[in-house]
């Protein structure tokens, strides 16, 4: 699942799709936290809490990213990441 996210992040051209790939990676990490916690340290809860934090962070980060995407769209009428290469030296 993390691999899918990385692949999508690198190859997709639409910024929304890239955002979805990012969510995929985050969710993959969350699941990893939960699963490894359950199997390696069943008596402890740190992994569970960490995934809860990550979910909260992901929500905030998504809101921010959506806002950026919308602003970029307003500015250049385009969400294709390959066209957005203005910010280079």
């Amino acid at each position: 699942m993390f691999g899918c996210g990385v692949y999508g992040f690198i190859t997709r051209r639409n910024m929304i799709a890239i955002l979805i790939s990012l969510e995929l990676m985050l969710n993959a990490v969350d699941i990893n936290f939960a699963v490894f916690n359950r199997f390696l340290f069943p008596g402890q809860m740190e992994g569970m809490f960490f995934s809860l934090f990550a979910i909260g962070l992901a929500a905030a980060e998504t809101a921010l990213a959506i806002a950026i995407v919308i602003n970029v769209y307003r500015a250049v009428r385009n969400v294709d990441i390959r066209q957005l290469t203005k910010m280079k030296f």
Partner: protein, 641 residues
């Protein structure tokens, strides 16, 4: 204190300086000039009142048991750093400062008046009067200072006003370089002065003149046996302080700025570079004289420097062709007389007659030298040249100026009953009392003085009768001739002032009695000098030419002031600039700046090298990141296994 109104002589000029400096350009030239002159007139009246009250008043205990007291009429604390380090500012009245009040205010007022005519129509007329006020303020502050630190501040202020006034014609390159030269040379000397002050106050714990001079033995002994390079620290301090005085008073080898300072307007030369500022060095030594009196080494240095300068300047003055330069060298020579007189003075010899003689000569010299300079100004005004070759036969055109100049020459040559005779006679008495060597030496210089002054006189007023063409020289206007007449009268009568009653080194009365064996010789020597000048220069002839050819080498050397300026030029340019400053500049530019430049350049070129990687495509960055992360993870794992 009753006499505390003396502080007004400082406040009025400084106010006039600010007023004329700030709103002067809004006023018409005439208004500005008259305002400045009137303010100076008021200052003069106050200064005279204060000085005369000090000398003749009886009700304030100025004289106790025949000893004239030093009065601190104003004493304010200016800066208080610690309990011991307090800098005060105040007004000190004692015989020499009261005498200087009279000298400065008289000459300054005369110069203000004279400048109304002389500077008429010049650009920057208002600025000129503002600077004159600044100078008067600083000079009066210098003489009235209660402590050596206050004196040092005003000392620098007179330096600044001298700089500003020498460079008054700032469009002329010669004036600009002359003002810079004057400033740098005197600043260099002031460095010695400052170090001297610091050493002196470090060992004595005080800046105050009265506490320094009231008990000189104690002041010297507090330094204990501290020595440096074989001399006691007190000798060093006093010699370094004298170095400051020598710079201001143009003593050899720091005299080089004074002849060049003649680039300034002539009334300025009369005021600053003849009568007042250049005697500041003499005044300084006189002020600290009780300290010098117990230090024979410092006094010997003063004597030797003074005597050598007197001779050197007189020799140079004999061959110069620019009338202001002749007067400049004669000023140097006369100031050297005063310095020598202080050097040979000691309390045991004739009750310290040298001190009194020096102050007396300072007083009379200020009057007749200001007179000579103002005459020279009138002459330059009339013929529009400084060179003697452009003059001759002027006695017919400018009778008042002629008489005034003659009086000045007779006074400086030491012919009775003119002022210079009495004061110079006292100096010679003091010199003979110290040692016959200095007596004979100064007598010879006095003869040379008579010779070169009368050479100047004949060259200007007799010699030949050149064709002035359509531009006939004429007598100067009233504002210029009045100061000449006034100073001429003063130069005649000033010698009869019983100076010993007023100014002596221990403030006790000293009765001047002419020593006819000395006075007679000096009159004879002066007459010989005058006779020689008469033979050589009264009518146009070729004797001077022949003599100059006979002693070609000597004449050229003297004409070039014995190459002192060239020597300075050589030392500063070839040695200091080329050998010391250049390597330092190279080190600064190449090594210190170079290191910093190298750092900046490395960063710069490195960033240029990697700039291609910043493509702007976000996904490329992610690729880099991914590859990097995987690589780091791989390395970590390899290292861990």
């Amino acid at each position: 204190m009753e006499l505390s109104y003396t502080v007004a002589v400082l406040i009025i000029p400084v106010f006039m300086f600010l007023f004329l400096g700030i709103v002067g350009v809004k006023l018409s030239k005439k208004t500005a000039g008259i305002l400045g002159t009137v303010a100076m007139g008021i200052t003069t009246v106050i200064a005279y009142t204060a000085a005369l009250t000090y000398f003749f008043g009886t009700d304030q205990g100025q004289v106790i048991d025949g000893v004239r007291q030093q009065l601190t009429v104003l004493d304010l604390t200016w800066l208080e750093f610690t309990k011991n380090l307090v800098i005060k500012i105040g007004v000190l009245l004692d015989p020499i400062s009261a005498m200087m009040l009279i000298v400065i205010s008289t000459v300054s007022f005369m110069v203000h008046l004279y400048s109304l005519g002389y500077m008429d129509g010049e650009r920057g007329f208002q600025r000129y009067y503002a600077f004159l006020s600044l100078f008067t303020f600083s000079m009066l502050g210098l003489v009235l200072a209660t402590n050596i630190f206050q004196m040092y501040i005003f000392w620098e202020l007179v330096g600044v006003s001298s700089y500003l006034l020498i460079g008054f014609y700032y469009t002329l390159p010669a004036a600009v370089s002359a003002s810079k030269k004057a400033f740098i040379v005197t600043r260099f000397a002031d460095l010695g002065f400052l170090i001297g002050i610091l050493i002196l106050s470090f060992y004595t714990d005080t800046f105050d003149f009265i506490s320094l001079t009231s008990d000189p033995q104690a002041a010297i002994s507090t330094a204990g046996g501290a020595t440096f390079l074989g001399c006691s620290v007190m000798t060093w301090a006093l010699t370094l302080i004298f170095m400051g005085g020598a710079g201001k008073s143009a003593m050899f080898p720091l005299h080089i700025w004074l002849p060049d300072a003649m680039e300034g307007p002539t009334p300025v030369s009369a005021l600053i570079h003849a009568a007042t500022m250049v005697v500041a060095g003499v005044y300084l030594v006189a002020r600290l004289f009780p300290l010098y009196a117990v230090d024979a080494t410092a006094l010997d240095i003063i004597t030797v420097v003074g005597a050598f300068t007197a001779f050197y300047a007189a020799a140079v003055a004999c061959v110069q062709s620019d009338i202001k330069r002749v007067l400049a060298f004669s000023t140097i020579s006369q100031i050297a007389f005063m310095i020598t007189s202080l050097g040979v003075a000691s309390p045991e010899l004739h009750h310290g007659v040298g001190y009194m003689a020096s102050m007396f000569h300072l007083f009379t010299h200020a009057m007749f030298k200001a007179l000579l300079f103002l005459c020279a100004g009138a002459i330059i005004h009339a013929v529009h040249s400084n060179e003697m070759s452009a003059m001759g036969g002027l006695r017919k055109y400018m009778p008042i100026c002629h008489i005034a100049f003659l009086i000045g020459c007779l006074a400086i040559a030491g012919i009775p009953p003119f002022a210079g005779f009495f004061s110079k006679d006292e100096i010679l008495v003091a010199a003979y009392a110290n040692s016959p060597l200095w007596g004979v030496w100064l007598s010879v210089v006095a003869g040379m003085t008579a010779f070169y002054m009368f050479r100047l006189y004949y060259k200007i007023f007799w010699w030949n009768n050149p064709d002035y063409g359509h531009h006939t020289p004429h007598e100067a206007p009233m504002t210029m001739t009045f100061p000449l007449i006034f100073l001429g009268l003063v130069s005649i009568v000033a010698g009869f002032i019983p100076f010993g009653e007023f100014v002596t080194w221990n403030h006790e009365e000293y009765v001047i009695h002419l020593d006819w064996s000395v006075a007679g010789t000096s009159i004879v020597i002066a007459l010989i000098g005058i006779a020689l000048a008469t033979v050589m220069y009264r009518k146009e002839n070729n004797i001077p030419e022949q003599l100059a050819n006979r002693f070609r080498g000597l004449w050229t050397a003297a004409y070039h002031r014995f190459y002192m300026d060239e020597l300075y030029q050589f030392i500063t340019h070839k040695i200091i600039f080329a050998r010391i400053s250049k390597p330092i500049a190279w080190f600064d530019r190449r090594i210190i700046d170079g290191t910093m430049d190298l750092l900046a350049n490395v960063t710069n070129s490195a960033s240029f090298a990697v700039r291609r990687m910043q493509s702007g495509s976000v996904q490329t960055y992610v690729w880099f990141y991914l590859v990097g992360a995987v690589a780091v993870a791989a390395i970590t794992i390899i290292c861990l296994i």
